[in-house]
């Protein structure tokens, strides 16, 4: 068995330090008792976390992001499951093109999508509305949900589905009682990844959101543009721990490495 030498272990240590440094600094600084952004060394304080509660803008933006994520992820998964069934269980003309088309939001720069949505929503007359945010978010997170549902469908054995149908089950019964229970971890994982993608999205949303419909990352971005203070660090800390919690749940439900790296060990 080949093992890593001391050089490789040092490299790994430096890499991990590089990946974690900005997160550690944000968390550490958010516990400062001071008015300025300095690393607290003598005492820690929760005052900047209480300060979030007094800032209606951040509270509203957090509520907006959660609502938007819940609705958009659910919408995306409801569209992705039938599409994934079509793509994985049928051979039909245009199938490969359809896969590429459905995954294309992944490779179109989000700034381009932001511009396009801003133009479109302004022309249609729903600029800055919650409906506009939902529609645009469903589109950009759809590929993430689709990929995970597709992956779980390819591991489910079609022979079981054929058996159910040959024994007289209707397609709907077969889907509800046989297929769905088999793919539910993938569907749930896809829903959560979609939620996280929606919650994190800033580049496209910054074009679509107006001051009354700002998501949390957009609100934070505009705040940081003006000034960086301990308040935005404590909001970030809340976001980091919230994301960790979701990651933990994803890991329990579907496996975080499978979700991030794809199947196949």
């Amino acid at each position: 068995m080949t093992r890593n030498g001391p050089l490789a272990i040092t490299f790994n240590g430096l890499f991990v330090a590089f990946m974690l440094a900005p997160l550690v600094v944000v968390i550490w600084m958010s516990f400062t008792p001071e008015n300025l952004l300095v690393l607290p060394t003598t005492s820690l304080s929760l005052r900047w976390f209480y300060a979030i509660l007094d800032n209606q803008q951040f509270i509203n933006a957090l509520g907006m992001s959660i609502m938007l994520g819940l609705i958009a992820a659910t919408g995306a998964i409801l569209l992705a499951v039938p599409a994934a069934l079509a793509l994985s269980r049928y051979r039909f003309p245009g199938r490969d093109g359809l896969v590429a088309f459905f995954l294309s939001p992944l490779i179109i720069p989000h700034v381009v999508l932001g511009v396009a949505f801003l133009r479109f929503f302004t022309q249609v007359g729903v600029s800055g509305s919650f409906i506009a945010l939902i529609g645009s978010h469903i589109l950009i997170i759809f590929p993430y949900g689709l990929r995970l549902v597709l992956a779980s469908l390819t591991t489910a054995d079609p022979a079981i589905e054929r058996a159910a149908v040959s024994l007289g089950a209707t397609n709907w019964t077969m889907f509800r009682r046989i297929l769905l229970p088999m793919i539910i971890p993938g569907v749930a994982g896809g829903w959560m990844i979609s939620f996280i993608q929606s919650f994190d999205e800033v580049t496209m949303t910054v074009f679509v959101a107006t001051p009354s419909s700002m998501t949390l990352p957009v609100r934070m971005y505009h705040y940081i543009e003006e000034s960086i203070d301990p308040l935005v660090a404590s909001v970030s800390t809340v976001v980091i721990f919230g994301t960790f919690l979701l990651m933990f749940i994803v890991d329990r439900v579907y496996g975080l490495d499978r979700t991030l790296v794809g199947p196949g060990k």
Binding site: P22, L23, P82, V111, A116, Q123, V202, M220, I224, A233
Partner: protein, 287 residues
């Protein structure tokens, strides 16, 4: 009858998603493309008609030249650095023993799931004149005064490497998983050194993973918005932030649309040529 109705099922199943894509992807992009050929007037706004003026402005104005070149430079530097640190990290991870392997894999790539704004804020806190890096260097008595990192191109590159290196790790990791460990063991048993095994057996097989990782990183870095906006400040514009300014600052939508379309076309062209090259060259080794 059964055959005819069965043939329609996959289309019916994908119809809802297709409608969404037609309404919210195709229509907006077409509208943006049309917008980019329209005229703009400071007082009346967007004027109907067809002109190439916006593209001429975007491609010939030295202001935009600088921005396009800076964006490409930043994206290239980010890609090279991601190869240099992401690929070795994936290799080191693949040689770890079971519990550590998945722990460090998750530590390396999970920052991907944390908001880019939060991660960039972290770098802004590290980089500032009185930021953590300069405080530590000062405390150690190293260097002569604060090193400028915030509002610099290399600061943007460092933060972008942090944001995009997980994609390189994932991509190289995936190609390492497809390797047959028996080949490396056979080479070792035949007397090859570890270095030779790496150079002649492992490296050639993970190059497709490195290349496809580079593609993702380049595309991400070239169109990144929040990181260059926060670390670069108001002065150091890149394509994405310049587009934002045209749309929400100066309100010259046709020009902003033209810049966005150039970004989309250049991005798509790079992706497609690169992908074709990859497939032609590595058709056998990928998958």
């Amino acid at each position: 009858m059964a055959e005819a109705s069965k043939g329609r099922i996959p289309y019916l199943l994908s119809l809802p998603a297709l409608l969404l894509f037609a309404a919210l992807l195709v229509t907006p992009l077409v509208m943006t493309a049309i917008l980019s050929f329209q005229n703009y007037d400071l007082t009346t706004g967007v004027i109907d008609g067809v002109t190439l003026g916006n593209y001429r402005d975007a491609l010939s104005d030295p202001y935009y030249h600088t921005i396009f070149l800076r964006t490409i430079g930043i994206a290239l530097a980010t890609t090279v650095l991601c190869v240099l640190i992401g690929a070795p990290e994936a290799y080191v991870l693949s040689r770890m023993q079971p519990p550590w392997r998945s722990i460090f894999l998750i530590v390396s790539i999970s920052p991907l799931l944390i908001s880019v704004v939060v991660r960039t804020l972290g770098w802004a806190l590290l980089f500032g004149r009185n930021g953590v890096i300069n405080q530590v260097l000062g405390a150690l008595g190293l260097g002569t005064g604060p090193i400028p990192l915030l509002y610099t191109v290399h600061g943007i590159v460092i933060a972008l490497v942090h944001v995009s290196v997980p994609f390189m790790v994932i991509s190289v990791w995936a190609s390492l998983q497809r390797l047959d460990p028996k080949v490396a063991r056979a080479a070792l048993s035949l007397g090859a050194s570890e270095a030779t095994v790496f150079r002649r057996i492992i490296l050639p097989q993970i190059i497709p993973g490195i290349l496809s990782g580079s593609l993702i990183v380049f595309a991400l870095a070239a169109s990144a918005f929040a990181t260059p906006a926060i670390i670069g400040g108001r002065q150091l514009k890149v394509v994405a932030t310049a587009t934002y300014d045209e749309f929400l600052g100066t309100l010259n939508w046709p020009l902003g649309a033209a810049i966005a379309i150039v970004l989309l076309v250049v991005n798509a062209a790079i992706m497609l040529t690169y992908n074709n090259l990859l497939e032609r060259r590595y058709a056998r080794t990928t998958r």
